[in-house]
């Protein structure tokens, strides 16, 4: 195992090469109580860091769970509050889509003042074309703008980077949420909702399909029957567990047990 030396938030530590900054931080015995969430999947955006490598003039942003340790790295966690901010709106009171551009401009007036500095693009750890999204949103090309933000993890690094206080991460969410809530109307979902409202879709709690022996295809059936033997033990425990709660349920479970026993007899 190769060790590298690096500095995180002022602590000079040794990290095992191949491990992430977060893993090296905890392996060095340092307390990890914030700036962490999914711990490696790179989807929660909580572990933002500023990283400077030896002989590089500029520091780069990244996620500590996805960035591997390197010799001589200088690392600082970046705390950005995601709490309430000035760009507020009620998605359900945006009016109709004819006014979308006007609403976007009202809520995010700074969006038309992008100075094309590219700071947001450089800050994004996911390589999103943030500036392009801002420019598209500002001229009402909401669907195109929304698609550019598919991979956003709401780390808010673009928010911190923007000198015009555009809040790109939240603008991106506005156009995405507008697009979905105003334009997505799947017919299958709507039909099923109507059926449910009309009482045409109901549940039979004790249908044959809820009992162990019924199955839809042979493969699954074998698996179920095999597990069923084991499940007898479990159901007995289940009986005890449910005993306090509902008698009806216990009766069901008893029926299930009885059926399993029948199968064993066969």
């Amino acid at each position: 195992m190769t060790m590298v030396r690096l500095v995180i938030d002022g602590h000079a530590i040794n990290g095992e090469s191949g491990t992430s900054l977060l893993q090296a931080w905890v392996a060095a015995g340092l307390p990890l109580v914030g700036n962490v969430g999914c711990m490696g999947q790179g989807v929660c955006g909580a572990c933002r860091v500023l990283v400077r490598r030896p002989n590089e003039r500029l520091a780069q942003t990244g996620l500590a769970c996805e960035t591997l340790v390197e010799e001589g790295m200088q690392v600082a966690f970046i705390n950005i509050s995601r709490q309430r901010r000035p760009h507020s709106y009620d998605l359900h009171a945006l009016g109709d889509s004819w006014d979308a551009i006007a609403r976007i401009d009202e809520i995010f007036p700074e969006a038309t003042r992008c100075r094309h500095c590219g700071g947001c693009d450089a800050a994004c750890p996911k390589g999103i074309e943030v500036e392009k999204m801002v420019n598209l949103a500002a001229v009402g090309q909401t669907l195109a703008a929304a698609e550019l933000f598919d991979d956003c993890v709401q780390c808010n690094l673009c928010v911190a980077a923007c000198p015009e206080h555009i809040d790109p991460a939240h603008l991106g969410q506005l156009v995405r949420r507008m697009t979905a809530s105003m334009t997505l109307r799947p017919s299958d979902l709507i039909m099923r909702l109507h059926e449910l409202e009309a009482g045409e879709q109901t549940i039979d709690l004790d249908s044959p399909g809820t009992l162990p022996q019924v199955s839809d295809d042979a493969d699954v059936e074998t698996a179920d029957l095999e597990t069923a033997d084991v499940e007898t033990a479990d159901l007995e425990t289940a009986d005890l567990e449910t005993a306090v709660v509902e008698t009806a349920e216990i009766e069901n479970a008893d029926v299930e047990n009885a059926q399993i026993e029948n199968e064993e007899v066969q």
Binding site: L30, L32, Q83, G209, T210, A223, T227, E256
Partner: protein, 539 residues
């Protein structure tokens, strides 16, 4: 289980046989599960001796936490700053945000407290999708039966019925909040149809998705809505240390810990909603986990100490394909999509050993058996079996780039090409099947305490179906939020304090349990933060 076949040798075996011939399990499923499923391994569980579930078995690590003393004494909260809320929601993942939003929109003054940041949760990590029976060939009854069957007939039927009938309106609600969904090929946003994928154990395709990061898309919309919601105060980095009680034993709020200031704060509330999620980061039986960093069973501990009944608390889901090597990615999920697209599992002898499309508990147990019996593959001290992605790519050219994007990203971060080299995988602790028992309204057995999401028990029986976790947090998050707001209009708690702790400590002492064992632990053992020792220090 440290013994196995060296990686280089195993790679040669794999090259010789790839693609390996099918080889069914040579052991009855019942024997496989009872010998190799981690829930059932001898010595892994012990009986609870105090609390509402005394007499029932539970994994050792969890049982130690459930039967622990509080971190607090009355004196700790005597001078603590106090806030008031109609509804206190504990937990800032999907269920917590949705409960808080719903309660605030119903007119309640809501306080949402979360241990990490808003949305830093298992919800945001969900890849596959959310189940809802919307297809013309599908029905809520079929979804009901599939769920009952997948849970080995141990789920509470009334809860499952509420889950599946609430499915379609949950999807409408999500769209109204601004969540996007994949559409069937060639259909339009207005009047088209949703794309359905098949979840393991489903009789028809019903899994709705957004790419292979459905949870991220859900959490983005819901997080933004929560941030913007009037009447909703957020306290991030405020874990709950203990629930409060009034003189009738009703839940009356919670004591939180303010990391920024290194002190306890008291929140008095008419109703409390527990949405603290799961417990993968307890690493039961030393398993790696796919869970987020904060999943340490805090909610189970607090609810149990207050007298809330738990259900199926010994049942956990181990996802068959977690990364075993390289170490930085250990425990992370390789999506089930790999196996459902046809990727094989291969042991160190170049052999397949199970039908890869069996239910998750069966496949996971079969992998653990290979490892236990010395046919696993060892690399840098890690052990697992191969997921044969190169053969999958060879048989379906382009499939990795086209359909398994997240898998490709994962491999790239691991420094290898999945078209050339198989993944080394091992089961990973994925989901807490049981939890705090709830009614369909979200009420627990303790008045004033509701719960929603992974912290609850009863919906999944002994095995959760893919896609039901995201649905659960929407359906039950909404109903818990609505009922909490309604309950908060009735009476408010009086004489609030930590009165339940006296009885709890007496029970611990009478069973000879050590009072120096404290919980909740808040963070994994390697987080270098001991809530007893380090609390005064702040962050």
């Amino acid at each position: 289980m440290s013994t196995g076949i060296a990686y280089e040798t195993a790679l040669q075996e794999w090259r010789q046989t790839a693609p390996a011939d099918p080889r069914p399990l040579d052991l009855p499923v019942s024997e496989l599960l009872s010998n190799f499923h981690p829930d059932r391994k001898p010595g892994a569980r012990s009986k609870l001796v105090i609390g509402p579930n005394a007499g029932e078995e539970c994994p050792n690590t969890l049982s130690r936490l459930l039967q622990s003393d509080s971190l607090l004494e009355d004196v700790d909260i005597a001078g603590a700053p106090t806030s008031e809320a109609d509804v206190l929601v504990i937990g800032g993942g999907g269920a917590g945000c949705i409960a808080a939003l719903t309660a605030a929109r119903a007119g309640a003054r809501v306080l949402l407290a979360t241990k990490l940041g808003l949305g830093d949760s298992n919800t945001v990590m969900a890849e596959g999708g959310i189940q809802a029976a919307v297809g013309a060939d599908d029905s809520v009854q079929q979804h009901f039966e599939d769920t009952i069957r997948a849970g080995h007939f141990a789920a509470k039927k009334e809860l499952v019925a509420a889950l599946v009938t609430g499915g379609p309106s949950a999807i409408r609600w999500l769209i109204q909040e601004g969540m996007d969904f994949d559409l069937a090929d060639g259909t339009q946003r207005m009047g088209g149809t949703l794309r359905y994928k098949t979840a393991g154990g489903a009789s028809v395709p019903r899994l709705l998705s957004f790419r292979d990061f459905t949870g991220l898309e859900l959490m983005r919309a819901v997080r933004e809505a929560t941030l913007l919601q009037p009447n909703l105060t957020l306290l991030t980095h405020h874990p709950a240390l203990e629930l409060l009680t009034d003189d009738r034993g009703h839940c009356a709020g919670a004591v939180l810990y303010d990391f920024a200031h290194g002190q306890e704060v008291v929140v008095r509330s008419a109703v409390t909603v527990l949405a603290t999620g799961g417990s993968g980061r307890l690493h039961l039986s030393d398993f790696p986990t796919s869970n987020h960093y904060g999943a340490t069973a805090d909610g189970l501990v607090l609810a149990y100490r207050l007298g809330a009944r738990l259900r199926d608390v010994g049942s956990f889901q181990y996802h068959p394909t977690g990364v075993a090597w390289p170490p930085p990615l250990e425990g992370q999920l390789v999506s089930e999509a790999a196996r459902s697209s046809g990727a094989f599992l291969v042991n160190g002898l170049g052999q397949r050993f199970v039908n890869e499309l069996q239910p998750r508990d069966v496949v996971a147990s079969a992998i653990l058996r290979e490892i236990d019996e010395g046919r696993g593959i060892t690399r840098d001290g890690k052990v697992g079996v191969f997921l044969d992605t190169p053969s999958l790519e060879r048989d379906n050219p382009g499939i990795l780039a086209r359909e398994l994007v997240t898998l490709g990203n994962l491999a790239r971060r691991g420094g290898f090409d999945p078209a050339e080299e198989p993944f080394l995988i091992r089961p990973t602790l994925h989901y807490q099947n049981g939890g705090v028992e709830i009614r369909t309204t979200g009420h627990t057995s303790v008045p004033g305490l509701l719960a929603a999401g992974e912290v609850t028990g009863g919906l999944h029986g002994h095995n959760r179906m893919m896609g039901n976790a995201l649905l659960e947090l929407v359906v039950f998050g909404r109903s818990a939020g609505a009922n909490a707001a309604a309950d908060a209009r009735r009476e408010r708690p009086r004489n609030v304090g930590l009165t339940h702790l006296a009885d709890w400590r007496r029970a611990m002492e009478s069973e000879g349990l050590p009072l120096d064992r404290k919980a909740p632990q808040l963070f994994p053992y390697y987080g270098n933060f001991d809530p007893v020792r380090d609390r005064r220090r702040g962050a």
